[in-house]
């Protein structure tokens, strides 16, 4: 009898261990807030964000300051260092997402279309935040009117905006005996070509050891020449316009004809950043977020505006991240309080101090807090001017971006030099239009 009981005990233990290891596979999603809101009770908010170590430290400081100013709200901060989008997708699909979470401008379209974000327009109107002081495109990329983005109600508030500028290696310029690019006027296509040719060096075997300009952030070239991705109503692919073709062909020529820019092959092993860091590229596109890293580099560098096409304007794409509230959050009021703090002046100050981001408020941008005189880059005001002229990246135009994926796949033929811009852009237009329509039917109704 005892032997039998022992057997049963052993089997039960083994069985429950196995079952336990299996069930740990289904993890528990982040708790939503648990306490009831009534005067005097503490509200628990959960907040998900990603961020490098420095940003994480700043965020913790900000949250502590917020909790001190709002004793009835506690914030549970979940720092997700990588794979943020996928983890958020899982939690959102599970139905119990955090109250407040970061939403990149790329994820925004998908999540707002699926009805996961809370419409905060009414809160924003009552909040007293000076929207006119914010960069227009920063606000715009978190708006949705049910059909198209960049119009309608506010579903998130911007955390930051990151315009793109041209970083250049001053030491390489001095070695080549070339003047630094102007920080006031973007150089033209012709000037960029001439400059890059002087900065491209070959070794005795004819192999290029130094490129004048890194992989091109060609969106700015396209826009400043008068071209664009989609028509104003987002219904049609229009890069095959005369201006668009001209800009794209210019970029392809820099790679294949004049060979002053590395093509994809060089960057598959050593990324563009690594090449810049090791002095193999003289000029490279980058955002503000590179500044803390670049400040540790061994050579002298500065920033200049992105080159411009025939429109002679500052132009480039900018990335952005926003704060959003989960649609089914049980504490939308408190959640918005947190967002107001983070996206407002307080949050912007701390984030800017670190050097990571451009403040979303124009008035804050022109202060020493941002310009940080005495630290590189010397011409930090380039970022501000760039922020004025920048546009959201192409991935923010529509909720479904299959058309963009198709474009990115097909355009590689141009970078390989296998075809001309005119031929290729006209060839791929029907396929892209089809993907655009299929992925975003609500725009066409």
């Amino acid at each position: 009898m005892l032997k039998h009981a022992k057997k049963m005990l052993v089997f039960t233990l083994i069985g429950s261990m196995l079952a336990g290891t299996m069930l740990t596979g289904c993890g528990k999603s982040d708790d939503a807030s648990t306490s009831v809101t009534s005067k005097g009770e503490v509200v628990q908010l959960t907040y998900n964000a990603w961020g490098a170590k420095d940003e994480d430290a700043v965020m913790k400081k900000l949250l502590a300051a917020f909790e001190a100013a709002n004793p009835n709200i506690k914030v549970k901060y979940n720092h997700i260092p990588d794979d943020y989008s996928n983890k958020m997708n899982t939690v959102l699909a599970g139905g119990s997402a955090p109250d407040v979470f970061l939403t990149s401008d790329g994820d925004f379209g998908r999540w707002v279309k699926s009805g996961l974000l809370l419409n905060m327009q009414s809160y924003v109107d009552k909040s007293g935040i000076d929207l006119k002081d914010m960069w227009a495109s920063a606000l715009g990329r978190y708006q949705y009117d049910g059909k198209v983005l960049a119009k309608g109600d506010q579903y998130a508030l911007p955390k930051d905006i990151g315009p793109s500028v041209l970083y250049y290696n001053k030491d390489l310029f001095k070695k080549a005996g070339v003047e630094f690019p102007s920080s006031e006027n973007p150089m033209t296509f012709e000037e960029l070509l001439a400059l890059s040719q002087k900065l491209t060096k070959k070794d005795t075997a004819g192999k290029i050891t130094q490129y004048g300009i890194g992989p091109l952030w060609w969106e700015g070239f396209l826009w400043s020449n008068g071209g664009d991705f989609l028509s104003k109503d987002n219904k049609e692919f229009v890069m095959n316009s005369k201006d668009g073709i001209e800009a794209m062909q210019y970029c392809a020529d820099l790679i294949n004809k004049y060979k002053v820019s590395p093509d994809g092959k060089s960057t598959t092993a050593m990324s563009a950043d690594q090449m810049f860091n090791t002095g193999k590229i003289a000029m490279i596109g980058g955002g503000r977020w590179m500044v803390p890293t670049y400040r540790k580099l061994g050579f002298d560098w500065d920033v200049a505006p992105m080159p411009t096409g025939k429109l002679n304007t500052w132009s480039g794409w900018s990335g952005s991240v926003g704060y959003s509230i989960y649609k089914k959050s049980k504490h939308p009021e408190e959640a918005f309080k947190l967002i107001k703090f983070l996206a407002g002046v307080e949050g912007q100050k701390l984030g800017t101090e670190l050097g990571f981001q451009i403040p979303t408020f124009k008035s804050m941008s022109n202060t020493d807090l941002f310009l940080q005189k005495g630290q590189k880059p010397e011409h930090a005001e380039v970022f501000i001017k760039a922020a004025e002229g920048q546009r959201p990246g192409s991935w923010t135009l529509t909720p479904n971006t299959k058309w963009l994926d198709v474009f990115n796949q097909r355009i590689t033929k141009l970078w390989e030099g296998k075809t001309t811009a005119e031929k290729l852009l006209n060839e791929i237009k029907p396929e892209i239009d089809k993907a655009l329509k299929e992925g975003n039917p609500q725009i066409f109704n």
Partner: protein, 313 residues
């Protein structure tokens, strides 16, 4: 006498008891067996069978993961067959990639044959060839990215010695897939080699001796004795390689993300993008089921044809 009698009575009683308890004891014995297989079995039902059946249902709906699924019947399948050239492109790419299978199996056989004789350093070689199979895929991916680098990579440098201008492997829509085939073959050599070494050892020596007596040369011995004797292993490798090739995903996503120009987009990669980039769960599920049908068909064909060339002894 009475003792024996008692014994008989005892034995009879015991045997009656035994018959009555037979059923009970049987069940009792088997209960432990069932208990043992219960956890993995329940796991399979919960995390395998139910999701699979659910995905069949999802494949007939439009589902973005966040909102309830909307039933659409066979729309997804119709779209896949008739309106999605990219699906056919990915199917073609996947089958193109399968070229690596016979190459891989052949190479691992050669290596196994080389390593089945007791040459010096045999343990080192066996370890070296098997190492890729147990290395992290991500680490290997980084390594291969360096190897394939057009300017500084090892491969193009070696080709340079022969005065061949190596192509821009991962950036060329013609050469990206061959590059990934090379990478795949290299990664799979280890498993095939191990299995073949074991199979070769098991070929009865008497066959070779008989062949020698009959005056067979090395090629005859290989073709008529070795190959048929190891054919069960070849069959196993072929089946698993085909199933694996049809589901190839990780290297294609990490090395080239399906590019350039969709030349390295395999079915599963395209499926993944549809599911998690475009949030088209229904469409992706339909693709998954079509893939299942294709793999099933290939496996059945493999099995049917196997009777012609696989010899079990």
């Amino acid at each position: 006498m009475s003792k024996n009698g008692d014994l008989n009575v005892q034995l009879n009683v015991k045997s009656v008891e035994f018959n009555v308890n037979k059923k009970k004891k049987f069940k009792r014995k088997y209960i432990y067996g069932y208990l043992f297989i219960a956890p993995p079995f329940i796991g399979f039902i919960l995390f395998g069978l139910i999701p699979i059946v659910y995905s069949l249902y999802i494949s007939m709906t439009s589902f973005d993961l966040f909102n309830p699924a909307v039933f659409t019947g066979l729309d997804n399948y119709k779209k896949l067959f008739l309106e999605d050239p990219l699906f056919w492109q990915s199917l073609f790419n996947t089958i193109y990639a399968a070229i690596g299978i016979p190459i891989g199996i052949g190479l691992s056989l050669l290596i196994a044959m080389g390593l089945s004789k007791n040459i010096k350093g045999i343990n080192f070689f066996r370890t070296a060839f098997f190492l890729p199979s147990i290395c992290s895929v991500v680490a290997l991916t980084l390594m291969w990215k360096w190897i394939f680098n057009a300017d500084y990579g090892v491969l193009n440098n070696i080709l340079g010695f022969f005065h061949i201008q190596g192509p821009n492997w991962l950036g060329s829509s013609t050469w990206a897939m061959p590059a990934l085939i090379i990478q795949g073959v290299w990664g799979g050599l280890g498993t095939g080699m191990i299995l073949y070494i074991a199979a070769l050892k098991n070929v009865p020596r008497t066959f070779y001796e008989a062949a020698d007596i009959d005056g067979a040369n090395n090629w005859d011995k290989f073709w008529h004795i070795t190959l048929p004797a190891i054919s069960p292993t070849t069959f196993y490798l072929a089946i698993t390689a085909v199933i694996g090739a049809m589901q190839a995903f990780v290297p294609y996503m990490l090395m080239t993300n399906g590019g350039p120009d969709y030349s390295t987009t395999t079915i599963v990669l395209y499926l993944y993008n549809n599911a998690f980039r475009y949030m088209n769960m229904g469409y992706a599920s339909a693709m998954a089921w079509l893939l299942f049908v294709v793999i099933m068909a290939m496996t059945i064909i493999n099995f049917k044809v196997s009777s012609k060339w696989v010899h079990y002894d």
